[in-house]
Each structure stands twice: as C-alpha cells, then as structure tokens.
C-alpha cells in the first residue's frame, strides 16, 4: 500500500496582505485536489464503509429481527454462538492454511515469472509472454473457474485424460477431499499470479542496474546477487503484494461457490463461504458475526504485514 502524501494546507502564521495572498493561492491549489478526491471518498464511505458498519451492527442483532425496521439487539450472543461452533474453528483453520499456501504460491510464481520476463536473456516475445501472463487476470473469474471445474472433471476432464496418456494416476481434483484444496489453489494461481507479477515487473524496472553490475564485478554468484542486491530493492513490491494477497486469499469466496460449494465434505469450507451458508438459513446475526471476525483478522494481518514491511524504510 503506497502511502499518498496529501498536500496539507500551509500553517496560518505570519500576517500581511502578501502572506494572505500566498495562503489563498495555496488553498486554491489544494482545494482542487480535495475537489477531485471528495467524490471518490464519498463513494467509498457510502458503498464501502457504511455496509461494513451495518454488517457489524447486524452481528449484534437477533437473526429473526435482523431485517426488521427495529431489530432486537442481543449483545455478543451471536459471537458466543459462533465461538461455540466447532465448524467455525475448522473453517477458520482451513482459511488460514489456504491463505498461507496461496500467498506463498502466488508470490513465488509471480516473482519467478517477473524475473524471467525482466531477464536480458529473453530476446524476443516479451510482449507475448506478458500478455499470456496477464490474460487470466482479466478473464472473468466465474468463467475461468467453470472451465477449471471442467478440466478437473473425473469423467471428461482434459487434465486426467492428459495424465492417462502419460501413464500417470488420475488427479482427484475437486471430487476428492484430499486434493480439493490443491485444485482450488491452482485455479486461483492461474487467475491471480499475473497481477502480482505486474507489480514485481514495475518494481524491477526501477531497480538500480549499477548495483547488479557492481556485484558482477565483485564476483557475486547469481543467487547471491539475487538475495543481496535484487531482493532488497523489491521490498516495496513484496510488501504491496503480500498485503494484497493476504486480503485476497483470506476472503476466498467465488472459486468455492463455482467449483466446490465448500466441499467435498467441507474440505474447502472457507470462512467466507461458511458465513454465506448462514445467510441461506436466515441466521443473519451469526453470519455477520463471522464476517466481522474475518474482517478483523484480515485488517490485523494486513496492518501487521504492512507495518513490518515498512519498518526500517527510509
């Protein structure tokens, strides 16, 4: 998350007409900025913050009254109920495990791809490979996941047909509890890695080449050059990608709705989807309580990662 430096109005010190004109000009300059920023801020508050506030308020209401004009508030009863639900904890555990694996896989693949694309050894076709990498990102996610579901199909899927050709055992895909999470992770990797690679590529473009040349002159091996010269310079992109990926994968939802519906047998019953099922049972209070807990976890982890990443920066 790159911090934007907001232009702050100049201090109201000094006096005299000259100072006043200077201040007036400064305000006029800054007011243009605020004029452009206010509509977006208003939209964010109305469509972003206000629904979150309403959701948190609903988590303190009795489900049967949640959608009434005057709901009945029950304090922390919904939170107590979900904390007594063993499935909530197993769902949370699955969500955290998936998030860790997905973040590592996506950032690892994205970084490797970005380094390959940035390499001077890639003589031609750079544009083609960039397009190939980014095309899945702009593909509508539902359409992409439907195709992945077909690829994994145990009877008609191209993946198992290919494995069969190679004489390899079939892959359980989303039909087996043992492989469902991996299947979902691969589909999400296909869809998201390109986005993170673009961020890495942008950072690589502003890296100091002189430092790499100096390392070459000093006899550094490729791995040493990468660890001690390139990687430190990629810190901004790593922090941005880490925070964004954590937020993205902690709230994984669409892929589950399309490919597994939380199964098989709860193997991909991540917290967002588990909370969604409560809406279907009209248990709005508990559903929003779960959503609030997830929101708090996402906020804490993202903030912690960002703070750690920014620590020591000059």
């Amino acid at each position: 998350m790159a911090s934007a430096t907001l232009a702050s109005p100049p201090p109201l010190v000094g006096g005299g007409w000259g100072e006043g004109w200077r201040l007036l000009r400064a305000w006029r300059r800054d007011s243009v900025f605020y004029l452009f920023a206010i509509p977006f801020a208003a939209l964010t508050i109305v469509f972003g913050l206000w629904p979150i506030v309403l959701s948190v308020m609903t988590s303190f209401t009795a489900s049967a009254t949640a959608l009434k004009s005057v709901p009945v508030y029950v304090g922390f009863a919904n939170y107590t109920a979900i904390l007594r639900d063993p499935l909530f904890f197993s769902s949370l555990g699955l969500t955290l495990l998936y998030a860790v694996l997905a973040v590592a896989a996506n950032l690892g693949v994205a970084l490797a791809y970005a380094l390959l694309l940035d390499s001077p050894l890639l003589a031609g076709g750079r544009g083609f490979f960039k397009l190939a990498m980014f095309l899945p990102v702009v593909t509508p996610d539902v359409a992409g996941y439907v195709v992945w579901r077909w690829l994994y199909d145990q009877s008609f899927g191209a993946l198992n047909a290919f494995l069969h050709l190679l004489g390899l055992p079939a892959f359980g895909g989303v039909a087996s509890p043992a492989t469902a999470m991996l299947a979902v992770l691969v589909a999400e990797l296909w869809h998201h890695a390109g986005f993170y690679a673009v961020i890495f590529l942008a950072n690589l473009a502003v890296c100091e080449r002189a430092l790499e040349e100096a390392a070459d002159i000093d006899g550094a091996r490729p791995w040493q050059k990468f660890c001690y010269v390139v990687l430190p310079q990629l810190r901004p992109a790593i922090v941005i990608n880490l925070v964004y990926a954590l937020i993205q994968f902690l709230k994984t939802f669409t892929v589950v709705v399309v490919m597994t519906k939380g199964g098989p047998s709860g193997a991909t019953n991540f917290l967002s989807y588990y909370a969604y099922q409560f809406f279907d049972q009209a248990r709005y209070g508990e559903a929003t309580a779960m959503a609030t807990v997830l929101f708090a976890i996402v906020l804490l982890m993202a903030t912690a990662v960002y703070a750690l990443g920014e620590r020591g920066r000059v």
Binding site: L67, R149, S155, V174, A175, S176, G263, S265, G266, A282
Partner: protein
Amino acid sequence: MRMSSLPRRGLLAGLLATPLAARGEAAQQLTVWHDLGDNGTKWFAALSAEFAKAHPGVTLRATSYPTDQWFGRVVGAVNTDTAPDLIFNNYERVIRIAAQTGKVMDLKGVLAGIADKGFLSEDDLRVATYDGRMIILPIQRVQMAFGVRKSWLDRIGEPFPVTWEDTMRVAQKFRDGHPDGDPGSKVFAFGLEAAQPRDLIHILDLFTFGAGLRSTLIDAEGNIVVDEPQHARVLEEFLKTYTAYGFVSPDTINYSFGEMYQVIEGGKAGMFRVGDWNVSKWDRPDVLNGDFIVGAWPKFFADRQNGVVIGGMRGIAVPENSPHKDLAIAFASFMLTQPAQQASLAIMGAAVRKDLDVAGLSPRQQAFAKPTWALYAYDFPESIHPFYPQLEAAYHRKLLDAIARPPADLKAFIAATAQDMRVLAKQLAEKKD
C-alpha cells in the same frame, strides 16, 4: 388559428370524460415478485391479460429474481413498507417470509369466499398453512417424478423400472453399456446432486417419500426416523448409489441444481428427477426432445405403494402492507379460476385444478396433469420444527462425509448417525425453547 368560441373548460371536460368512461375504473398496476424466470413472467403476462377482461385498466407487472435474492428483497421490502402487491413462491419459502416479517396476510377468509375450490385437497390446504394461518393460496402443485431416458431403455431392452431391483438392473446396464448409442462417450446411470443440504437431502426425500414412507429425518412428533428399518434400507441404497455402485459421476459430490441439470440436459444421465416444470423444456428438440418417460419412484417394499412426490406447493401470498390490497386479493382469488389455471398448466406445467383441458399437452405433461400414480406429499418439517434447517445441515454433513469417505459398515454408520441426530435435535429444541 385561435380556439373556437367553445368554452375551454367544457372542451377539456369532454376530452377527459371519454377515456375515463371507457375504462370504468382508474388505471392501476399490481406488482408481483417471483423466482420463476422468463417462463413465470410470461405466465403472469397471460394472467394479466385475462384479469384485465374483468378489471379494465388494471395491469400486472411481474419481476423475477433468483431465489436467494428473492428472499432478501421481499423481506427487506415488506419490513420497510415498500412491499410488492403480491409474492409468489414455494410454500416453504413463503414460510420464511412470514417468519421473518410477520406481515403475510392470512388468506383463510379469502379462500372461504371462493365458491369453486373443491379441487383443493386437505393436503393442499395443509401445505398452505403455517402457524395456523393460510399464508398462500395454493396455485401449483409441485410434483416430482422419476424420469428415465426412453431410447436408452429401448436400447438395453428393458421396460420402465418399477422396483428398486429393476432400477438397479437398469442402472448397471446404463453404467456398463453404451445406452446412448455412442461407444466413445461416458454416461451415468443417474443424474443427481449433493453439494448443499437442500440438494442431497431433497433427493433422499424423493427416494424416501416415493417409496411410500413418511419423513426423511425427523417426524412431526420430533422422532428421528433415520434408523427405522425401512428408512435405513432406503438410506443405505441411496448412499451406495453415490458410492459403491458407481451410478453417478464422481463429481456429483459438488453438484447443485445447475450442474445436475447440465448432466441431464447434456444427455449424460439415464435416470433423474423430473419436476412438472421441467417437462416443457425437456420436450424441446434442442434439449431431450421428449425422449424420457416419467413414472413413480422405485418401489422398495412389498407392503408400500410407490408413487410420485408432491414436493411442494407454489402459491400466491399477499403482504399485509400490499399497496393495493383489495385488488391484490382479487387477483390472488382469480389465480384459482379455470382460465388462470389453464394458463398455469400450459406455460408452467403445473396447476391445482382437475378440470383442465390437457389435449394439447405432451404425454409427459399429461401424466402430471392427470396423474394415475399415487401422490405423496412432502411433510415440510421446517414448518413444524423451527430448528430443522440446522438439523438438516448437520445431517447433510454426515451423509456427505459418508459419500466422500465411504464407511466400511454402512449399517453401523446409519445407527450412529441416527443417535447423533437425536442428541442434536434435543439440544436444538431446548435452545429454541
């Protein structure tokens, strides 16, 4: 050119009087919210045209929402006094609206005022009543029969299966042969679903009620029935259909309605659920071209008649804060008349009247319209036990686990599951109290 010497007020009055006199009443628009899609909107348009003959100037605007959105929109609208005039859906869905809002009108008095209603059975009226109130006027009896591909049966030389043993034999031939005539294709004996509680338990309901039993999980008195001998037998065969017998696609564990329909309409399943609303689409040349027979669910027990399941009742409900309440009530009553019911049968494939003309319907539609099979009504445990959705979700998890990781001893699994459900039902009942 200037206006003539005719008094302007008189001219204006004359101009206005003519259309008003022709209308007979002020122009009004009723609104109805449903989840039946384009077909439903087409049906309501036909009803609107018919209703307008007796109520000139009155039109009906029908809006369809996906079912899960329909709930939220209706509850929100009713609770904020922006309700539509009418809502149309399955009985068990209107129950949720009634429970969430407390603002669904009791239509008992309305039904009492309708003279021509002898076609409504006690079962029909029971499934229209919740908590002592008639929350819907029953309009469409939702029947769900057992369907089998006709050409597949012809190819394997079998008649429509009657008993479960017949069904197993046909299923094995579908599974192992090439009943679709294509040696290169992979097909399945059954097209089923399992992902959500209302997917898997719904199919189990059909097998259970279709076999002539009552209740799938819990009866009206609150007793868990899962391990009663006949229920346990049906459940065991049901689970084996998904597992040991290999009668369904392995991906069925993740299938909901959409995926199940893809398998059926894609011509990959030999046996499947057929709802009365499915027939008009599946009769089309670009779908199944009418290549299926509908009949009763498999017979499991010699002492019980198998039949078709009345999976529900679709009806019309009137919110207490309906903007045009009197007119809405008139329209709701109109939906039970012969012309309205004829349109319902022709367009939606379902109705409640028995005196409708079926000559123009396909053999499969006629089978639903003039049923010769036994009809068993679903018992709607959610209308009796408020905790039922949670109990069902827990039962679904157990069954799904048994499908994903089949237990070595199904009988022991069923006994243990029944005991777990008893404990949970007691806990949930005490919590609700």
